[in-house]
Amino acid sequence: MRNGFALLAALAATALPGWAVLGGSAESVVTDQLKFQAKRTVVETQEYSLHVISLDDGTLIREYVTPGGKVFGVSWSGPTIPDLPQLLGSYNAEFQNAVHVKSGHRRTAGVHDSDLVVESSGHMRAFYGRAYLNSMLPSGVTQEIVK
Protein backbone atom coordinates (compact mmCIF):
# COMPACT_ATOMS: atom_id res chain seq x y z
CA MET A 1 0.00 0.00 0.00
CA ARG A 2 2.82 2.36 0.83
CA ASN A 3 4.50 1.64 -2.49
CA GLY A 4 1.35 2.30 -4.45
CA PHE A 5 0.82 5.51 -2.58
CA ALA A 6 4.32 6.71 -3.25
CA LEU A 7 3.96 5.98 -6.94
CA LEU A 8 0.74 7.94 -7.15
CA ALA A 9 2.32 10.90 -5.40
CA ALA A 10 5.33 10.78 -7.67
CA LEU A 11 3.19 10.78 -10.78
CA ALA A 12 1.26 13.78 -9.56
CA ALA A 13 4.20 15.70 -8.24
CA THR A 14 5.24 17.79 -11.17
CA ALA A 15 2.72 20.61 -11.13
CA LEU A 16 0.80 20.42 -7.90
CA PRO A 17 1.03 22.83 -5.01
CA GLY A 18 2.50 22.42 -1.56
CA TRP A 19 0.77 24.02 1.38
CA ALA A 20 -0.15 27.40 2.69
CA VAL A 21 1.05 29.19 5.77
CA LEU A 22 -1.07 29.50 8.90
CA GLY A 23 -2.85 32.83 8.81
CA GLY A 24 -1.85 33.38 5.21
CA SER A 25 -3.71 33.36 1.97
CA ALA A 26 -4.79 30.14 0.36
CA GLU A 27 -3.05 31.27 -2.80
CA SER A 28 0.27 31.08 -0.99
CA VAL A 29 0.28 27.36 -1.66
CA VAL A 30 1.73 28.12 -5.05
CA THR A 31 4.82 29.75 -3.60
CA ASP A 32 5.56 26.59 -1.69
CA GLN A 33 5.02 24.40 -4.68
CA LEU A 34 8.67 24.06 -5.57
CA LYS A 35 9.77 23.29 -2.06
CA PHE A 36 7.42 20.39 -1.41
CA GLN A 37 6.46 17.97 -4.09
CA ALA A 38 3.01 16.83 -3.17
CA LYS A 39 -0.44 15.89 -4.31
CA ARG A 40 -3.47 17.77 -3.08
CA THR A 41 -7.18 17.19 -2.84
CA VAL A 42 -9.76 19.74 -1.76
CA VAL A 43 -12.97 19.10 0.16
CA GLU A 44 -15.46 21.97 0.22
CA THR A 45 -17.93 22.43 3.05
CA GLN A 46 -20.32 25.30 3.70
CA GLU A 47 -18.11 26.80 6.42
CA TYR A 48 -14.61 26.16 5.10
CA SER A 49 -12.54 24.22 2.59
CA LEU A 50 -10.14 21.47 3.54
CA HIS A 51 -6.99 20.93 1.48
CA VAL A 52 -5.41 17.53 2.08
CA ILE A 53 -1.82 17.38 0.92
CA SER A 54 0.02 14.09 0.58
CA LEU A 55 3.80 14.01 0.63
CA ASP A 56 5.53 11.06 -0.92
CA ASP A 57 6.97 9.89 2.42
CA GLY A 58 3.43 9.30 3.67
CA THR A 59 3.01 12.60 5.49
CA LEU A 60 -0.47 14.08 5.36
CA ILE A 61 -0.93 17.84 5.75
CA ARG A 62 -4.42 19.25 6.19
CA GLU A 63 -5.03 22.92 5.81
CA TYR A 64 -8.32 24.56 6.66
CA VAL A 65 -9.27 27.64 4.67
CA THR A 66 -11.98 30.20 5.41
CA PRO A 67 -14.51 31.25 2.75
CA GLY A 68 -12.42 34.43 2.55
CA GLY A 69 -9.38 32.43 1.54
CA LYS A 70 -7.37 32.54 4.77
CA VAL A 71 -5.70 29.50 6.32
CA PHE A 72 -7.10 29.27 9.87
CA GLY A 73 -5.79 25.84 10.77
CA VAL A 74 -3.27 23.20 9.77
CA SER A 75 -2.58 19.68 10.95
CA TRP A 76 -0.04 17.03 10.14
CA SER A 77 0.59 13.32 10.56
CA GLY A 78 3.36 11.17 9.20
CA PRO A 79 6.65 9.37 9.69
CA THR A 80 8.60 12.60 10.07
CA ILE A 81 7.71 16.07 11.33
CA PRO A 82 7.04 18.44 8.43
CA ASP A 83 8.83 21.75 8.08
CA LEU A 84 7.03 23.66 10.82
CA PRO A 85 8.44 27.11 9.96
CA GLN A 86 6.99 26.54 6.51
CA LEU A 87 3.64 25.50 7.95
CA LEU A 88 3.36 28.02 10.75
CA GLY A 89 4.95 30.98 9.04
CA SER A 90 5.19 34.04 11.27
CA TYR A 91 3.59 32.11 14.14
CA ASN A 92 6.50 29.69 14.36
CA ALA A 93 8.54 32.14 16.44
CA GLU A 94 5.83 32.33 19.08
CA PHE A 95 5.59 28.54 19.16
CA GLN A 96 9.33 28.14 19.51
CA ASN A 97 9.51 30.71 22.28
CA ALA A 98 6.88 28.79 24.20
CA VAL A 99 8.71 25.52 23.66
CA HIS A 100 11.98 27.00 24.87
CA VAL A 101 10.60 27.84 28.28
CA LYS A 102 8.80 24.56 28.85
CA SER A 103 9.66 22.25 31.69
CA GLY A 104 11.93 19.30 31.02
CA HIS A 105 9.33 16.84 29.78
CA ARG A 106 9.73 15.12 26.48
CA ARG A 107 7.69 14.12 23.48
CA THR A 108 5.08 16.85 23.39
CA ALA A 109 5.22 20.55 22.70
CA GLY A 110 2.52 23.13 22.61
CA VAL A 111 1.41 26.69 22.96
CA HIS A 112 -2.10 27.73 24.02
CA ASP A 113 -2.50 31.47 23.72
CA SER A 114 -5.76 33.36 23.43
CA ASP A 115 -5.35 33.24 19.66
CA LEU A 116 -2.62 30.81 18.64
CA VAL A 117 -2.78 27.11 19.53
CA VAL A 118 -0.05 24.68 18.43
CA GLU A 119 0.20 21.06 19.60
CA SER A 120 2.84 18.49 18.63
CA SER A 121 3.08 14.85 19.71
CA GLY A 122 4.06 11.40 18.48
CA HIS A 123 7.08 9.18 18.30
CA MET A 124 9.60 7.94 15.76
CA ARG A 125 7.77 6.89 12.56
CA ALA A 126 4.49 8.47 13.67
CA PHE A 127 4.17 12.19 14.41
CA TYR A 128 1.06 14.30 14.86
CA GLY A 129 0.24 17.92 15.39
CA ARG A 130 -2.10 20.76 14.67
CA ALA A 131 -2.22 24.53 14.83
CA TYR A 132 -5.04 27.02 14.55
CA LEU A 133 -5.92 30.64 15.13
CA ASN A 134 -9.00 31.23 17.29
CA SER A 135 -9.47 34.67 15.77
CA MET A 136 -9.79 33.23 12.28
CA LEU A 137 -12.21 30.36 12.95
CA PRO A 138 -15.15 30.85 10.56
CA SER A 139 -18.54 31.33 12.17
CA GLY A 140 -20.09 28.00 13.05
CA VAL A 141 -16.68 26.27 13.14
CA THR A 142 -15.06 25.05 16.34
CA GLN A 143 -11.45 24.15 16.93
CA GLU A 144 -12.29 20.43 17.00
CA ILE A 145 -12.51 20.29 13.23
CA VAL A 146 -8.77 20.94 12.98
CA LYS A 147 -7.41 17.43 13.44
Binding site: D57, P79, G104, T108, S120, G122, H123, M124, K147
Partner: protein
Protein backbone atom coordinates in the same frame (compact mmCIF):
# COMPACT_ATOMS: atom_id res chain seq x y z
CA UNK B 1 37.83 12.77 5.79
CA UNK B 2 40.74 14.97 6.73
CA UNK B 3 38.54 18.00 6.57
CA UNK B 4 36.69 16.97 9.74
CA UNK B 5 39.55 17.34 12.15
CA UNK B 6 43.28 17.79 12.17
CA UNK B 7 43.97 14.43 13.71
CA UNK B 8 41.49 12.54 11.63
CA UNK B 9 43.37 13.39 8.50
CA UNK B 10 45.85 10.57 8.78
CA UNK B 11 43.33 8.08 9.98
CA UNK B 12 41.20 7.19 7.01
CA UNK B 13 37.75 6.44 8.28
CA UNK B 14 38.67 6.75 11.90
CA UNK B 15 36.59 9.34 13.62
CA UNK B 16 38.61 11.30 16.14
CA UNK B 17 36.08 12.55 18.61
CA UNK B 18 38.44 13.49 21.34
CA UNK B 19 41.58 14.85 19.88
CA UNK B 20 43.90 13.89 22.70
CA UNK B 21 42.96 10.26 22.35
CA UNK B 22 42.98 10.05 18.60
CA UNK B 23 45.04 7.04 17.63
CA UNK B 24 45.36 5.98 14.05
CA UNK B 25 45.46 2.38 13.03
CA UNK B 26 43.90 0.15 15.61
CA UNK B 27 40.50 1.75 15.70
CA UNK B 28 38.99 0.52 12.48
CA UNK B 29 37.27 -2.65 13.50
CA UNK B 30 35.99 -3.26 10.00
CA UNK B 31 39.46 -4.07 8.74
CA UNK B 32 41.27 -5.49 11.73
CA UNK B 33 38.78 -7.49 13.70
CA UNK B 34 39.07 -10.41 11.32
CA UNK B 35 35.34 -10.94 11.31
CA UNK B 36 33.32 -10.94 14.46
CA UNK B 37 33.66 -14.27 16.15
CA UNK B 38 30.20 -15.49 17.05
CA UNK B 39 30.08 -16.05 20.79
CA UNK B 40 29.10 -19.48 21.94
CA UNK B 41 25.42 -19.21 22.73
CA UNK B 42 25.17 -19.88 26.40
CA UNK B 43 23.19 -18.32 29.17
CA UNK B 44 24.49 -14.82 29.66
CA UNK B 45 23.50 -12.17 32.15
CA UNK B 46 20.48 -10.55 30.54
CA UNK B 47 19.50 -8.17 33.34
CA UNK B 48 20.40 -4.53 32.86
CA UNK B 49 19.82 -2.20 35.83
CA UNK B 50 17.75 0.91 35.14
CA UNK B 51 16.78 3.84 37.34
CA UNK B 52 14.30 6.69 37.45
CA UNK B 53 16.01 9.57 39.23
CA UNK B 54 16.79 13.26 39.01
CA UNK B 55 19.06 12.68 36.04
CA UNK B 56 22.70 13.27 35.20
CA UNK B 57 24.66 15.93 37.01
CA UNK B 58 25.51 19.21 35.40
CA UNK B 59 27.90 21.51 37.25
CA UNK B 60 27.53 19.34 40.31
CA UNK B 61 23.74 19.47 40.40
CA UNK B 62 21.25 16.88 39.13
CA UNK B 63 19.62 18.21 36.03
CA UNK B 64 16.19 17.78 37.57
CA UNK B 65 14.53 15.01 35.56
CA UNK B 66 11.00 13.78 36.21
CA UNK B 67 9.69 10.42 34.98
CA UNK B 68 12.74 9.65 32.90
CA UNK B 69 14.19 6.14 32.79
CA UNK B 70 17.98 5.90 32.62
CA UNK B 71 20.65 3.25 32.26
CA UNK B 72 24.41 2.97 31.82
CA UNK B 73 25.58 1.93 28.36
CA UNK B 74 29.02 0.54 27.60
CA UNK B 75 30.42 1.13 24.12
CA UNK B 76 33.61 -0.33 22.70
CA UNK B 77 35.75 0.18 19.64
CA UNK B 78 34.44 -2.65 17.42
CA UNK B 79 36.14 -5.95 18.02
CA UNK B 80 38.26 -4.67 20.89
CA UNK B 81 38.11 -4.38 24.65
CA UNK B 82 38.72 -0.63 24.43
CA UNK B 83 35.51 0.53 26.02
CA UNK B 84 33.86 3.24 28.05
CA UNK B 85 30.66 3.44 30.04
CA UNK B 86 28.19 6.31 29.83
CA UNK B 87 25.61 6.77 32.58
CA UNK B 88 22.15 8.31 32.43
CA UNK B 89 21.27 7.33 28.90
CA UNK B 90 17.50 7.58 28.42
CA UNK B 91 15.79 4.20 27.88
CA UNK B 92 13.31 4.90 25.11
CA UNK B 93 10.69 2.53 23.75
CA UNK B 94 9.48 5.29 21.43
CA UNK B 95 12.53 5.10 19.17
CA UNK B 96 15.14 2.65 17.94
CA UNK B 97 18.89 3.17 17.90
CA UNK B 98 21.58 4.46 20.22
CA UNK B 99 22.37 8.17 20.19
CA UNK B 100 25.16 9.53 22.36
CA UNK B 101 26.38 13.04 22.94
CA UNK B 102 29.70 13.83 21.34
CA UNK B 103 30.99 15.49 24.47
CA UNK B 104 30.82 12.21 26.38
CA UNK B 105 32.69 10.02 23.93
CA UNK B 106 36.35 9.37 24.65
CA UNK B 107 36.91 6.61 22.09
CA UNK B 108 38.19 6.86 18.55
CA UNK B 109 35.49 5.28 16.45
CA UNK B 110 35.12 4.42 12.76
CA UNK B 111 32.66 6.34 10.63
CA UNK B 112 29.93 4.57 8.77
CA UNK B 113 30.50 5.58 5.15
CA UNK B 114 28.55 5.34 1.92
CA UNK B 115 29.63 3.79 -1.40
CA UNK B 116 31.68 6.92 -2.17
CA UNK B 117 33.42 6.67 1.20
CA UNK B 118 31.67 9.78 2.46
CA UNK B 119 30.60 9.76 6.10
CA UNK B 120 26.90 9.50 6.79
CA UNK B 121 25.06 11.98 8.96
CA UNK B 122 21.77 11.30 10.72
CA UNK B 123 19.01 13.69 11.73
CA UNK B 124 16.36 12.80 14.25
CA UNK B 125 13.49 15.07 15.20
CA UNK B 126 11.28 14.46 18.20
CA UNK B 127 7.75 15.66 18.78
CA UNK B 128 8.89 18.16 21.38
CA UNK B 129 10.60 19.78 18.34
CA UNK B 130 14.09 18.92 19.53
CA UNK B 131 16.54 17.51 17.01
CA UNK B 132 19.83 15.64 17.09
CA UNK B 133 22.36 15.69 14.29
CA UNK B 134 25.67 13.96 13.88
CA UNK B 135 27.68 11.27 12.13
CA UNK B 136 27.12 7.55 12.26
CA UNK B 137 29.94 5.57 13.82
CA UNK B 138 30.22 1.89 14.66
CA UNK B 139 30.60 0.54 18.17
CA UNK B 140 30.09 -2.67 20.04
CA UNK B 141 27.23 -2.07 22.46
CA UNK B 142 27.40 -3.90 25.79
CA UNK B 143 24.30 -4.11 27.96
CA UNK B 144 24.34 -6.50 30.92
CA UNK B 145 26.25 -9.50 29.57
CA UNK B 146 24.96 -8.99 26.04
CA UNK B 147 27.05 -7.65 23.18
CA UNK B 148 25.79 -6.21 19.89
CA UNK B 149 28.72 -6.00 17.51
CA UNK B 150 29.52 -3.21 15.05
CA UNK B 151 26.32 -1.30 15.64
CA UNK B 152 25.79 1.97 13.78
CA UNK B 153 25.04 4.68 16.35
CA UNK B 154 24.65 8.42 16.11
CA UNK B 155 27.11 10.85 17.69
CA UNK B 156 25.05 13.95 18.36
CA UNK B 157 26.67 17.35 18.31
CA UNK B 158 30.06 16.35 16.93
CA UNK B 159 31.95 19.60 16.51
CA UNK B 160 34.33 18.22 13.88
CA UNK B 161 31.55 17.12 11.55
CA UNK B 162 29.45 18.90 8.95
CA UNK B 163 26.89 21.33 10.28
CA UNK B 164 23.31 20.19 10.54
CA UNK B 165 21.33 20.60 7.32
CA UNK B 166 18.64 23.24 7.33
CA UNK B 167 15.93 20.62 7.00
CA UNK B 168 17.10 19.13 10.30
CA UNK B 169 17.26 22.32 12.31
CA UNK B 170 14.16 23.91 10.76
CA UNK B 171 12.03 25.18 13.56
CA UNK B 172 13.66 22.89 16.05
CA UNK B 173 15.66 23.10 19.22
CA UNK B 174 19.03 21.35 19.42
CA UNK B 175 19.35 18.49 21.91
CA UNK B 176 23.06 18.08 21.39
CA UNK B 177 24.44 18.78 24.86
CA UNK B 178 23.66 17.54 28.35
CA UNK B 179 21.94 20.79 29.18
CA UNK B 180 19.80 20.61 26.06
CA UNK B 181 18.99 16.89 26.15
CA UNK B 182 18.82 16.38 29.91
CA UNK B 183 20.48 13.00 29.42
CA UNK B 184 23.77 11.66 28.14
CA UNK B 185 22.10 9.96 25.23
CA UNK B 186 19.07 7.98 24.09
CA UNK B 187 18.95 4.19 23.96
CA UNK B 188 16.13 3.43 21.54
CA UNK B 189 14.81 -0.05 22.29
CA UNK B 190 11.42 0.24 20.66
CA UNK B 191 9.36 -2.10 18.51
CA UNK B 192 11.46 -1.68 15.37
CA UNK B 193 14.83 -3.04 14.32
CA UNK B 194 15.93 0.25 12.77
CA UNK B 195 15.15 3.88 13.50
CA UNK B 196 13.77 4.60 10.05
CA UNK B 197 13.36 1.32 8.18
CA UNK B 198 12.36 0.74 4.58
CA UNK B 199 11.42 4.39 3.97
CA UNK B 200 15.07 5.42 4.37
CA UNK B 201 16.25 2.56 2.16
CA UNK B 202 13.96 3.63 -0.68
CA UNK B 203 14.97 5.72 -3.67
CA UNK B 204 13.13 8.78 -2.32
CA UNK B 205 14.06 8.76 1.34
CA UNK B 206 12.95 11.33 3.91
CA UNK B 207 15.61 13.76 5.17
CA UNK B 208 16.94 11.44 7.85
CA UNK B 209 20.24 10.14 6.46
CA UNK B 210 22.71 12.35 4.63
CA UNK B 211 25.83 11.74 2.61
CA UNK B 212 28.36 14.28 3.81
CA UNK B 213 31.26 15.00 1.44
CA UNK B 214 33.21 18.22 1.97
CA UNK B 215 30.83 20.03 -0.36
CA UNK B 216 27.94 19.58 2.05
CA UNK B 217 25.38 17.05 3.19
CA UNK B 218 22.58 15.83 0.95
CA UNK B 219 19.81 13.34 1.77
CA UNK B 220 20.66 9.78 0.86
CA UNK B 221 19.13 6.36 1.12
CA UNK B 222 20.75 3.88 3.47
CA UNK B 223 20.23 0.13 3.42
CA UNK B 224 18.56 -1.32 6.49
CA UNK B 225 21.82 -2.78 7.78
CA UNK B 226 23.51 0.62 7.63
CA UNK B 227 20.84 2.44 9.64
CA UNK B 228 20.73 3.04 13.37
CA UNK B 229 19.88 -0.28 14.97
CA UNK B 230 17.94 -1.28 18.03
CA UNK B 231 20.90 -3.07 19.64
CA UNK B 232 18.72 -5.74 21.22
CA UNK B 233 17.91 -7.49 17.96
CA UNK B 234 21.64 -7.62 17.16
CA UNK B 235 22.50 -9.64 20.26
CA UNK B 236 23.52 -13.24 19.41
CA UNK B 237 20.87 -14.45 21.86
CA UNK B 238 18.00 -12.97 23.86
CA UNK B 239 17.33 -10.89 20.75
CA UNK B 240 13.58 -11.24 20.17
CA UNK B 241 12.65 -8.43 22.52
CA UNK B 242 12.98 -7.17 26.05
CA UNK B 243 11.03 -6.49 29.20
CA UNK B 244 11.02 -3.40 31.38
CA UNK B 245 10.25 -4.00 35.06
CA UNK B 246 9.66 -1.13 37.45
CA UNK B 247 8.17 -1.41 40.93
CA UNK B 248 5.01 0.48 41.83
CA UNK B 249 5.21 3.87 43.50
CA UNK B 250 2.77 5.67 45.79
CA UNK B 251 0.48 8.52 44.81
CA UNK B 252 3.08 11.09 45.86
CA UNK B 253 5.76 9.38 43.79
CA UNK B 254 9.24 8.33 44.88
CA UNK B 255 12.59 10.04 45.12
CA UNK B 256 14.00 7.39 42.81
CA UNK B 257 13.11 3.95 41.54
CA UNK B 258 15.39 1.09 40.59
CA UNK B 259 14.27 -1.50 38.07
CA UNK B 260 15.46 -3.83 35.37
CA UNK B 261 15.51 -4.31 31.67
CA UNK B 262 15.61 -8.01 30.86
CA UNK B 263 16.67 -9.02 27.36
CA UNK B 264 14.90 -11.76 25.47
CA UNK B 265 11.33 -13.01 25.70
CA UNK B 266 10.99 -16.58 26.88
CA UNK B 267 14.66 -17.25 26.22
CA UNK B 268 15.76 -17.72 29.82
CA UNK B 269 14.21 -18.63 33.13
CA UNK B 270 13.76 -14.95 34.04
CA UNK B 271 11.94 -13.62 31.00
CA UNK B 272 8.88 -15.77 30.44
CA UNK B 273 5.66 -14.10 29.38
CA UNK B 274 3.77 -15.48 32.38
CA UNK B 275 0.22 -14.22 32.56
CA UNK B 276 0.83 -11.20 30.37
CA UNK B 277 -1.22 -10.79 27.22
CA UNK B 278 0.26 -9.70 23.93
CA UNK B 279 -1.20 -7.11 21.57
CA UNK B 280 0.22 -6.51 18.11
CA UNK B 281 1.14 -3.00 17.10
CA UNK B 282 0.88 -1.51 13.61
CA UNK B 283 3.81 -2.67 11.50
CA UNK B 284 4.38 0.82 10.07
CA UNK B 285 3.78 3.11 13.03
CA UNK B 286 3.93 0.92 16.14
CA UNK B 287 0.54 2.29 17.19
CA UNK B 288 -2.48 0.44 18.55
CA UNK B 289 -5.95 1.44 19.73
CA UNK B 290 -6.94 2.81 23.11
CA UNK B 291 -10.63 3.25 23.84
CA UNK B 292 -11.48 6.01 26.30
CA UNK B 293 -15.05 6.87 27.31
CA UNK B 294 -16.21 4.68 24.44
CA UNK B 295 -14.18 6.49 21.80
CA UNK B 296 -11.37 4.55 20.05
CA UNK B 297 -8.10 6.40 19.50
CA UNK B 298 -5.91 4.65 16.96
CA UNK B 299 -2.90 6.92 17.53
CA UNK B 300 -2.02 5.19 20.76
CA UNK B 301 1.43 4.00 21.82
CA UNK B 302 3.62 3.07 24.78
CA UNK B 303 6.66 5.29 25.14
CA UNK B 304 9.05 5.10 28.08
CA UNK B 305 10.67 8.26 26.71
CA UNK B 306 7.50 10.26 27.38
CA UNK B 307 7.69 11.75 30.85
CA UNK B 308 3.99 11.39 31.55
CA UNK B 309 0.70 10.08 30.24
CA UNK B 310 0.15 12.42 27.31
CA UNK B 311 -3.46 11.92 26.48
CA UNK B 312 -6.15 13.77 24.58
CA UNK B 313 -7.09 17.26 25.69
CA UNK B 314 -8.57 19.23 28.53
CA UNK B 315 -12.10 19.10 27.14
CA UNK B 316 -12.09 15.34 26.59
CA UNK B 317 -10.46 14.41 29.88
CA UNK B 318 -12.01 17.13 32.00
CA UNK B 319 -8.56 17.93 33.37
CA UNK B 320 -7.38 21.55 33.49
CA UNK B 321 -4.02 22.35 31.95
CA UNK B 322 -1.31 23.64 34.26
CA UNK B 323 -0.66 27.34 33.88
CA UNK B 324 1.78 28.06 31.08
CA UNK B 325 3.83 30.11 33.54
CA UNK B 326 4.09 27.23 36.03
CA UNK B 327 6.88 24.70 36.48
CA UNK B 328 4.51 22.11 35.07
CA UNK B 329 3.51 23.82 31.84
CA UNK B 330 2.43 21.12 29.41
CA UNK B 331 1.00 18.91 32.15
CA UNK B 332 -2.49 18.55 33.60
CA UNK B 333 -3.27 20.22 36.93
CA UNK B 334 -6.47 18.81 38.46
CA UNK B 335 -7.14 20.10 41.97
CA UNK B 336 -7.46 16.50 43.15
CA UNK B 337 -6.30 13.27 41.52
CA UNK B 338 -8.66 11.96 38.84
CA UNK B 339 -9.07 8.23 38.17
CA UNK B 340 -9.73 6.75 34.74
CA UNK B 341 -9.97 3.45 32.95
CA UNK B 342 -9.08 2.93 29.32
CA UNK B 343 -9.03 -0.17 27.15
CA UNK B 344 -6.03 -1.00 25.00
CA UNK B 345 -6.56 -3.45 22.17
CA UNK B 346 -4.69 -5.06 19.34
CA UNK B 347 -4.59 -8.15 17.21
CA UNK B 348 -3.16 -11.22 18.88
CA UNK B 349 0.37 -11.46 17.43
CA UNK B 350 0.13 -15.26 17.36
CA UNK B 351 -1.80 -15.12 14.09
CA UNK B 352 -5.05 -16.45 15.51
CA UNK B 353 -6.97 -13.46 14.18
CA UNK B 354 -8.46 -12.64 17.54
CA UNK B 355 -8.32 -9.28 19.26
CA UNK B 356 -6.74 -8.93 22.69
CA UNK B 357 -7.89 -6.19 25.06
CA UNK B 358 -6.75 -4.96 28.43
CA UNK B 359 -8.39 -2.63 30.93
CA UNK B 360 -5.90 -0.09 32.23
CA UNK B 361 -6.72 1.88 35.37
CA UNK B 362 -4.70 5.00 35.95
CA UNK B 363 -4.92 8.36 37.62
CA UNK B 364 -3.61 11.82 36.94
CA UNK B 365 -2.67 14.20 39.74
CA UNK B 366 -1.70 17.85 39.93
CA UNK B 367 1.37 18.40 37.79
CA UNK B 368 2.64 21.39 39.74
CA UNK B 369 2.40 19.51 43.05
CA UNK B 370 4.31 16.57 41.60
CA UNK B 371 6.98 18.50 39.73
CA UNK B 372 7.63 20.86 42.63
CA UNK B 373 8.03 17.95 45.08
CA UNK B 374 11.41 16.35 45.81
CA UNK B 375 10.27 13.20 44.02
CA UNK B 376 11.16 12.18 40.46
CA UNK B 377 9.15 9.02 39.80
CA UNK B 378 5.42 9.41 39.32
CA UNK B 379 2.72 7.02 38.15
CA UNK B 380 0.17 9.83 37.84
CA UNK B 381 1.86 12.62 35.89
CA UNK B 382 -0.03 13.51 32.74
CA UNK B 383 -0.54 16.15 30.12
CA UNK B 384 -2.38 16.90 26.88
CA UNK B 385 -1.70 15.47 23.42
CA UNK B 386 -4.88 16.09 21.42
CA UNK B 387 -6.19 13.05 19.58
CA UNK B 388 -3.34 10.95 20.92
CA UNK B 389 -3.06 8.38 23.71
CA UNK B 390 0.59 8.24 24.75
CA UNK B 391 1.17 5.75 27.54
CA UNK B 392 4.39 7.25 28.85
CA UNK B 393 6.68 6.22 31.66
CA UNK B 394 3.95 6.27 34.36
CA UNK B 395 2.47 3.23 32.60
CA UNK B 396 5.56 1.16 33.44
CA UNK B 397 5.42 1.46 37.24
CA UNK B 398 4.15 -1.73 38.85
CA UNK B 399 4.23 -3.64 35.55
CA UNK B 400 6.33 -5.94 33.50
CA UNK B 401 6.10 -4.62 29.94
CA UNK B 402 7.42 -6.80 27.10
CA UNK B 403 8.49 -5.24 23.82
CA UNK B 404 8.37 -7.72 20.94
CA UNK B 405 10.67 -6.49 18.18
CA UNK B 406 9.41 -6.53 14.60
CA UNK B 407 9.83 -9.81 12.70
CA UNK B 408 11.28 -11.48 15.81
CA UNK B 409 9.33 -14.35 17.29
CA UNK B 410 8.55 -15.66 20.73
CA UNK B 411 5.84 -17.77 22.33
CA UNK B 412 3.58 -14.70 21.99
CA UNK B 413 3.97 -14.57 18.22
CA UNK B 414 5.75 -12.23 15.85
CA UNK B 415 6.62 -8.60 16.57
CA UNK B 416 5.91 -5.79 16.69
CA UNK B 417 3.84 -6.38 19.82
CA UNK B 418 3.50 -5.33 23.43
CA UNK B 419 2.73 -7.72 26.27
CA UNK B 420 1.83 -6.74 29.84
Amino acid sequence: MKRYGPLAGACGSVFALLMGLAACGGGDGSSSSGGSTTPVVTTVNNVQPVVVDSGPSLNGQPIGANDELFTTVTICVPGTSTCQSIDHVLVDTGSSGLRLLSGNIALTLPYVTDASNNPIGNCVQFADTTYQWGPLVKVDVRLAGEVASSVPIQVAGASNFAAAPASCTAGGIPAQTLLELGANGILGVGLFRQDCGVACASSSPPAVYFSCPATGCTPTSVALTGQLQNPVWMFPQDNNGLAILLPQVGAAGAVSVSGSVIFGIGTQSNNGLGTTQAQAADINTGNFTTTFNGVPYTTSYIDSGSSGFFILDSTTTGLPNCASSSDAAGYYCPTSPASFTAITSGRNPNGSGTTVSANIAFSIANGVSLIDSPNTSFNNLGGPAPGVFDWGLPFFFGRTVFIGIESQTSAAGTGPYWAY
